[in-house]
């Protein structure tokens, strides 16, 4: 055995150079466009941070943001409560329960949120005498309550479907196993089925929260000053297009932050499922 002869052993050939293929050119051009837009956006916003517009309206944007959070939070919570009986009725064997629940879900998922909000807000005005008779006019008189009412009903329909899908996703064997162990049905549901179902439902729930944040912009159309409402008010007074740019940045930040946090939560909760 002799040592490797430096004359005869060949060095590893260099990896072929990355050629400037069409896709690579396109990718770089597009990225360059994004970077240029991003930099000019930052520059534009940076140069406007001290502008009279920002001075005047930033407290309004914060107020609007809080209203948006309120609307989304309350609606999601009420929707979650409402979704449980709906999902149960939907899966019921009795048609008197399952059919109305199916109709409810179909209606609220099949029509635009905007139309539902208008129906409730302007529709309530038509029934003022009747609503006054039952003492509900005070509730429907306020645009804020109308929005909460409409959004809760809407998200309840979506959440009911998420819940139902997740419960159905848990295999029958889990029920049978628990039954074999002599565990009662309600206990099986809450201790065995529901935890597994919620695990599956995490992702769609996250999506529903994001859809709700985006959908809540609709509240601005019926005189609510949420983030979008304040944006429109600022624009209609100043005619300064940065009103919408700031709002876009704010919404993107909210949605992206939420999405990332939610991904973390999901990864943490499902870590035992990782293989």
């Amino acid at each position: 055995m002799t040592a490797a002869n430096p004359e005869t052993s060949l060095p590893r050939p260099p990896s072929p150079p990355r050629t400037w293929s069409n896709t690579r050119i396109l990718g770089h051009v597009l990225m360059a466009l994004w970077i240029i837009s991003g930099v000019s956006l930052v520059f534009y916003l940076g140069s406007n941070v001290a502008s009279p517009f920002v001075q005047k309206y930033w407290p309004k944007y914060i107020e609007g943001f809080l209203v948006t959070l309120q609307i989304v939070g309350v609606s999601l919570l009420l929707g979650a409560l409402l979704s449980v009986p709906i999902a149960m009725a939907r899966g019921s064997r009795w048609k008197i329960f399952s059919w109305p629940a199916y109709g409810y879900v179909y209606f609220f998922r099949g029509t635009p949120l905007l139309a539902q909000t208008f129906l409730i807000y302007y529709g309530a005005g038509t029934f003022r005498p009747e609503l006054e008779a039952v003492g509900l006019w005070g509730f429907f008189r306020d645009a804020w309550f109308c929005v909460i009412f409409a959004f809760s009903l809407n998200t309840a329909a979506y959440q009911a479907e998420i819940l139902r899908g997740a419960v159905l996703n848990v295999s029958r064997g889990q029920w049978e196993g628990a039954a074999a162990l002599g565990i009662s049905k309600p206990v099986t549901f809450f201790k065995v089925i529901l935890p597994q179902a919620l695990m599956v439902a995490l992702r769609p729930y996250g999506n529903e929260i994001i859809l709700m944040i985006k959908g809540s912009a609709i509240a601005s159309i019926i005189t609510i000053y949420d983030l979008m409402g304040e944006t429109r008010r600022a624009y209609s007074r100043s005619y300064d297009f940065q009103a919408y740019i700031w709002a876009a940045v704010a919404y993107l930040l909210i949605v992206e932050t939420l999405r990332r946090v939610w991904d973390k939560i999901e990864a943490r909760l499902t870590r035992h499922l990782k293989r």
Partner: protein, 258 residues
């Protein structure tokens, strides 16, 4: 390299779209809202009618130009002018300092005060801020009236609507306690079947800073020549009796104001 060639072709196509357009004002596009009776509104079959429209037609005739009307939502009417969707706004727009920073105005072509209307059974007795304390007041957004309420009536809860029609709906259902708008607009509404719910509480003393000097025609800042033309035409129709003819067709009093 095909991509680069395609990009070059795209730029060429885009460039071909643009063509120089000389501005000799043989044709003027006029923006208006079409939801503000009696000044400008749509009839059931889609015709624009009203004081603003008649004035606009008279001015165009005077300037010997062809006029074309374009309707726009009120919120988007100044952006629409700036973006070139039309060349002039004749839509009862008050001449204010805030707006003057964005667009130029002609001299006023009428001036009427704001007023507050309430349901007939309302307990509100006056138009001062104290009388209206905690009342829910409706106004059209982006108007001098909404600015007036924000500045002068801090104790009310203000609700802003995209068009006058929506606040009318909400005040007649009792969702809001009062509305603020031009006195002429409110009277016109209250005289119709539609406005049987409500009455005028009183007119307000206009604030020159907020309410401005009356309604003028808004024109892009770079089109100074058009502003001049319109000013001359307003003078002319005031002098030759055409203005009075239109005034009397709509109102029993003089809307030009002092």
């Amino acid at each position: 390299m095909r991509v680069l060639r395609m990009a070059a072709a795209a730029v060429a196509v885009l460039a071909a779209v643009g063509g120089a357009e000389a501005k000799d004002w043989t044709k003027v596009r006029i923006g208006t809202e079409g939801a503000y009776p009696p000044f400008n509104n749509m009839t059931a079959d889609g015709q624009l009618v009203g004081f603003d429209i008649d004035i606009a037609n008279a001015l165009c005739e005077e300037m010997k130009v062809e006029c074309e009307f374009v309707t726009s939502d009120w919120d988007g009417i100044i952006p629409g002018l700036q973006a070139g969707k039309f060349d002039a706004i004749i839509a009862s727009m008050s001449i204010t300092e805030e707006r003057k920073q964005k667009v130029d105005f002609t001299n006023k072509y009428y001036n009427t005060p704001p007023a507050i209307a309430v349901p007939k059974d309302s307990a509100i007795s006056g138009t001062s801020d104290a009388d209206l304390k905690d009342a829910v007041l409706g106004a059209q957004s982006s108007t001098t009236h909404s600015n007036y309420a924000e500045e002068k009536l801090p104790s009310v809860e203000l609700k802003l609507y995209p068009t006058a029609d929506e606040y009318k709906l909400d005040v007649s259902s009792g969702r809001i306690d009062a509305v603020i708008d031009d006195v002429v607009v409110l009277s016109e509404w209250l005289d119709s079947d539609d406005g049987s719910c409500c009455k005028i509480l009183g007119t307000l003393t206009p604030d020159p800073v907020i309410n401005g000097e009356g309604a003028g025609i808004a024109i892009r800042k770079e089109d100074g020549d058009l502003t001049e033309k319109f000013n001359a035409a307003i003078e002319a129709i005031l002098a030759n009796g055409k203005y009075k003819e239109i005034n009397d067709k709509y109102f029993s009093f003089d809307v030009y104001g002092g």
